[in-house]
């Protein structure tokens, strides 16, 4: 190796170290891909969607089997399923933070009471005083699963208020809950694709 080659190699090494240092400062730690979360969320969606379709069918003929009070067991099971997935995600939570742009909080706030939970923080450079301090937050997957858990309770409330979960109401709840679960799967698939 000539002197010039050694010089170029040193410059390349320095460049790589600078890139590495910059890269490390930019990266947010993230929980790894978890096939059990992917499978669990998919199975939960199948169970939830099947339940709503059944409630829709029963509700159209006012069959008593479709009433809220006859289906409490489903909601108990759904809560337990989501709680188990959340527990798994919490056990793998290495970050204790879920960082989203601060302006996203403002958009959600402007949308009418949809502000992100305190556990979801703004980036440190733009953190608002309302953001949870580091160490007190939760990973994004945990936060998304907690939102799914809240939706089980809201779905039960809707069923209770309306007695039957049928017609356009059934369709809206199917669309909304699927979207929430799709968000979790989109992240898991992206982690899987990028071998994270």
């Amino acid at each position: 190796m000539t002197v010039i080659h050694r010089h170029i190699a040193r410059i390349a090494t320095l460049f790589a170290l600078v890139v590495l240092a910059t890269a490390c400062s930019m990266l947010q730690p993230m929980a790894p891909y978890d096939p059990e979360i992917e499978k669990g969320v998919s199975a939960y969606h199948q169970s939830l969607d099947s339940f709503i379709l059944k409630m829709d069918r029963l509700g159209r003929t006012k069959d008593p089997a479709g009433r809220y009070d006859g289906n409490l067991a489903f909601y108990d099971d759904a809560r337990a399923t989501v709680d188990t997935l959340t527990l798994r995600a919490e056990a793998q939570d290495v970050t204790h933070s879920c960082v989203v742009p601060d302006t996203v909080r403002q958009i959600l706030g402007a949308a009418g009471g949809g502000a992100l939970p305190a556990a979801v923080t703004a980036p440190s450079s733009t953190a608002s005083s309302s953001a949870a301090p580091a160490g007190e937050g939760v990973d994004c997957t945990v936060q998304m699963l907690r939102n799914v858990r809240g939706q089980v309770d809201t779905l039960a409330q809707i069923h209770q208020v309306e007695t039957y979960l049928t017609g356009p109401l059934a369709q809206r709840t199917r669309d909304i809950t699927a979207q929430s679960l799709r968000a979790i799967l989109a992240v898991e698939f992206a982690k899987k694709r990028n071998q994270m």
């Binding site: 190699a9 009471g113 994004c140 936060q143 939706q151 809950t177």
Partner: protein
């Protein structure tokens, strides 16, 4: 006045572009699809309540809207995560592109896990 789905989607997309800045292009396809569904749900709730009789009560509509906001939260959190994953993948690719040269210069693999 009936809500226009396309107008709602455009408003959400431009708000998203402002919120996520230069990183928006990395994940905007996902956002466009999800924002359209949110807009359709909001417009759908309005048309359900406009039926005679309404398809469900205003109380149920409020609960539905709360559920929709919760799904919007998940969509935006996922959006931020997808951008983060894309950035990490790009950094990984850059590091891999120089790792051979660095290994040759140093005589060992600097990037191998300890």
């Amino acid at each position: 006045m009936a809500l226009n789905v396309d107008t709602l989607v455009q408003q959400m997309l431009s708000a998203g572009a402002g919120a996520f800045g230069d990183n928006w292009a990395r994940a905007s396809d996902y956002a466009a699809t999800e924002f359209r569904q949110i807009a359709q749900t909001i417009a759908g709730i309005e048309s359900d309540l406009a039926q005679v009789p309404p398809a469900y009560t205003p109380e149920a509509a409020k609960l539905l809207f709360g559920m929709q906001l919760s799904s919007l939260q998940n969509t935006l959190i996922a959006e931020a995560q997808l951008i983060e994953i894309a950035v990490q993948a790009a950094i990984k690719a850059v590091l891999e592109s120089v790792s051979g040269m660095v290994q040759q210069a140093l005589g060992f693999d600097l990037f191998a896990p300890v």
